[in-house]
């Protein structure tokens, strides 16, 4: 009997895990969904999820686009460093961003103290919209700016020379050169940022400040952890899934262009850089952006002084747990992505069935839409029949983290496999190079660096993740982000700052390694 292709096996396992998890969750309560009575509650949660996500998206995109245009027009010392830092906020774990908001805008934060120094004594509460929006914009606006700047830099030099020759005014430049780029990118970015904020968990849990300000994700968590109402969790999860699937479907449609990472810096001299009013505008935008981003970013460094105080057996154990989970999660994500991508390629090229190939391409993206808590809870209900519930966390944490990283890993590996096929597929076919031999001879040399890059990125995502560990965290299973959450809850901000710094350093090192690998040799 011929063995099934590894890719179809992986696809089957993923579909079975997600479907099995949902069925287990939906059937456990036995007495139908208690959810029918939750109409007003559901409406409130939904409204809050959507409004905060829409506001976060609007603010992130506005600030991001303004920063991108200002940075595109200006050259100043340290600009390269700013650009490099913009790209890194993506990997700041949300729980560390929560810490940063506390440290700057909290009761004893820098901002609050500065206000009281100026005589402003009204108490300013970060809980609710202010804290959530600050954290979301802090994480997303720099990322939006970086992507837009990369796209703006792809405008061919010839067009800029043409603009100079035709004596374009700044408004013409915006209309004919900048806007076409921005308008092509913004819908996709808006969808992505909205999705990330809609699904936000750690930030809303810590900064929401009460049950009236929950996103669906937090509501699912509360149903599971606090009320133990699996039926309600299943019901909420299905709503979450439906909304996120719609969004990812739209995203899949708009985000067809692979993200570019290279920036040609300083090659083009924009004619609008000399315009006086644009100078003032850009200075204001850059100053406002720095005043918002810099304190939050710098607050993460404040932990440096307390690093030596936190090193103990608990911390080391949490560190090792996080590293182990990250390695297993990255392995799951990378191997699955490779198997799925090679299946997709096989269907697209050898078997000429683009529709089935599209299914393999779409499957990882659907994982963006699956609420991790619902998946975890459902799988927990299954796993607990076979193993000690306390061991379930150790199995499920890497698995769910790996599945969460899969879409990103897939996106970087699949195009490389297709490139290998385009260049060498026919040579390999005529020489009889197939199966694992094809992977070793034809594919691996072309994908080993992106594979390494994706592995490091998956590790970074998993290492800093504060998601389903909130369900399992406790005496027996503690990761670094969980430790940080505990310290934040106890208002031990000094220790929290040191743990946060540690997480950020590891995540940055991994992301840096990932960036180096993905750019080297191109």
């Amino acid at each position: 009997m011929k063995l099934p292709h590894p890719g179809s096996l992986v696809a089957f396992v993923i579909v079975a895990l997600v479907a099995g998890g949902f069925i287990a969750l939906a059937t456990v309560s036995g007495e139908g969904p208690t959810s029918l009575s939750i109409g007003p509650y559901l409406r409130r949660v939904l409204a809050f999820s959507i409004i905060q996500a829409a506001l976060s998206t609007l603010l992130s995109l506005s600030l991001g686009a303004a920063l991108a245009l200002a940075l595109a027009r200006r050259r100043f010392p340290g600009r390269d460093l700013v650009l490099a830092l913009l790209g890194t906020t993506m990997v700041i774990p949300t729980i560390v961003a929560v810490f940063a908001v506390f440290a700057v805008y909290g009761r004893s934060g820098w901002f609050t103290q500065a206000l009281s120094f100026l005589g402003w004594t009204d108490s300013f509460s970060i809980f609710g919209y202010p804290g959530i929006l600050i954290a979301h914009v802090f994480l997303n606006a720099p990322f939006v700016a970086r992507i837009l700047l990369d796209s703006l830099s792809l405008v061919p030099a010839e067009q800029w020379r043409l603009a100079s020759a035709l004596d374009f005014k700044p408004s013409h430049i915006f209309r004919h050169l900048d806007w076409p780029v921005l308008s092509a990118e913004l819908p996709g970015l808006a969808g992505l940022v909205f999705l990330l904020c809609f699904k936000s968990f750690a930030i809303v849990l810590a900064l929401g400040g009460g049950p009236s300000r929950s996103t669906l994700e937090v509501a699912i968590y509360e149903a599971l952890k606090i009320d133990l109402d699996f039926g309600r969790a299943a019901w909420l999860s299905l709503i979450q899934l439906a909304i996120c699937l719609t969004l990812t479907g739209l995203l899949n449609w708009t985000l067809t262009r692979p993200p570019t990472a290279h920036t040609i810096r300083g090659l083009i001299k924009r004619p609008d850089a000399r315009n006086g009013s644009l100078r003032i505008l850009d200075a204001v935008v850059l100053a406002a952006g720095s005043l918002f981003i810099a304190p939050l970013a710098l607050s993460m460094l404040s932990g440096l002084a307390y690093i030596s105080d936190i090193v103990d057996a608990d911390l080391l154990r949490a560190f090792m747990t996080s590293v182990t989970i990250a390695i297993i999660a990255a392995t799951i994500a990378c191997i699955s992505a490779l198997a799925l991508a090679s299946s997709a390629r096989r269907w697209r090229v050898a078997l000429r069935s683009p529709r089935i190939a599209a299914f393999y391409d779409f499957l990882p993206n659907t994982l963006l839409a699956v609420p991790p808590f619902a998946l975890t809870a459902g799988l927990f209900l299954i796993v607990r029949r076979f193993t000690d519930p306390s061991a379930a966390g150790l199995i499920l944490l890497p698995l769910v983290n790996g599945l969460a990283a899969l879409p990103f890993v897939y996106r970087s590996l699949a195009p490389r496999l297709l490139t290998a096929e385009e260049r060498y597929g026919r040579v390999a076919a005529s020489l009889g190079i197939a199966g694992m031999n094809k992977l070793a001879i034809m594919d691996w040399p072309l994908i080993k660096r992106p594979f390494g890059a994706a592995f490091a990125l998956a590790m970074a995502l998993s290492f800093g993740d504060f998601g389903i560990i909130a369900l399992f965290g406790g005496q027996e299973l503690v990761t670094l982000p969980y430790l940080l959450f505990e310290r934040l809850g106890a208002y031990r901000l000094d220790e929290a700052s040191a743990i946060g710094l540690l997480i950020v350093i590891v995540a940055f090192l991994l992301a840096h390694a990932s960036g180096r690998l993905s750019h080297a040799g191109d």
Binding site: V427, S430, I433, I441
Partner: protein, 233 residues
């Protein structure tokens, strides 16, 4: 003998219907305008395109049910023939053993073949360290070392400058004398192979329009049309 009879292929914007014969041991030059179906013809013989109807046999063996690697065919493309991370010798070795696990005799054979294409001492070079002409010599060596009796050259020298191109065509001629193989070769510049080829076929609009000895094709009524078609590409 290679026999192609009424092999039909259709795409939404292009269709082809090939019929032609090539005698065993001959060198057949395939000429014609760009987009006329020269490459498709070679890809069909190699097994990358499957005709909906018709027959394709070589020495009486039906090729159509066979996978590309199972056909008695070796192919050299215009570009990307070599894997960039493998040495010249390893790239040639793929023609013998895709697993690259070689016996000592096979190593000697590969060395001899690199020698035969004028690349003695290049065995440890990687494609990035060789010129375009040298890379195509490696690909040619691989096609020959595989011992397959039918060799397809798909615009193999089009990206080389004219002097080098004629050198490479001379090389093909010499190699033929050492080893009896049947060769089909698409080419943009028919005059380069006029002396060397036994047969020339003109392919346009997905059909073999004419097939004869080169002098008859180039000097015949089609000559002017061919000159026009070729100079346009």
């Amino acid at each position: 003998m290679l026999v192609i009879e009424n092999c039909r292929l259709t795409w939404p914007d292009f269709s082809a219907d090939y019929s032609m014969r090539v005698d065993k041991g001959d060198l057949c030059a395939v000429i014609g305008p760009s987009g006329g179906g020269k490459t498709t013809l070679l890809h069909m013989i190699a097994g990358f395109e499957t005709p909906e109807s018709g027959t394709l046999t070589f020495e009486g063996q039906n090729l159509l049910p066979l996978e590309p690697a199972k056909r008695p065919v070796a192919i050299v493309f215009q570009d990307h023939n070599l894997f960039p991370h493998l040495t010249a010798a390893q790239n040639v070795a793929l023609g013998l053993r895709p697993s690259l696990r070689l016996t000592d005799e096979e190593r000697v054979l590969i060395d001899d073949m690199l020698d035969a294409v004028g690349l003695k001492g290049f065995d440890t070079r990687k494609p990035g360290e060789m010129s375009g002409g040298q890379r195509q010599r490696v690909a040619l060596a691989r096609a020959l070392v595989s011992g397959r009796p039918l060799i397809l050259l798909d615009e193999p020298f089009s990206s080389l400058d004219p002097g080098l191109r004629r050198d490479m065509i001379q090389l093909v001629g010499e190699l033929r004398r050492k080893r009896p193989v049947t060769i089909l070769m698409t080419i943009h510049t028919p005059e380069d192979v006029a002396d060397l080829a036994d047969q020339m076929v003109f392919v346009a609009d997905g059909k073999v329009v004419a097939s004869d000895v080169p002098s008859a094709i180039l000097g015949g009524p089609l000559g002017a049309k061919i000159a026009a078609a070729v100079s346009n590409t």
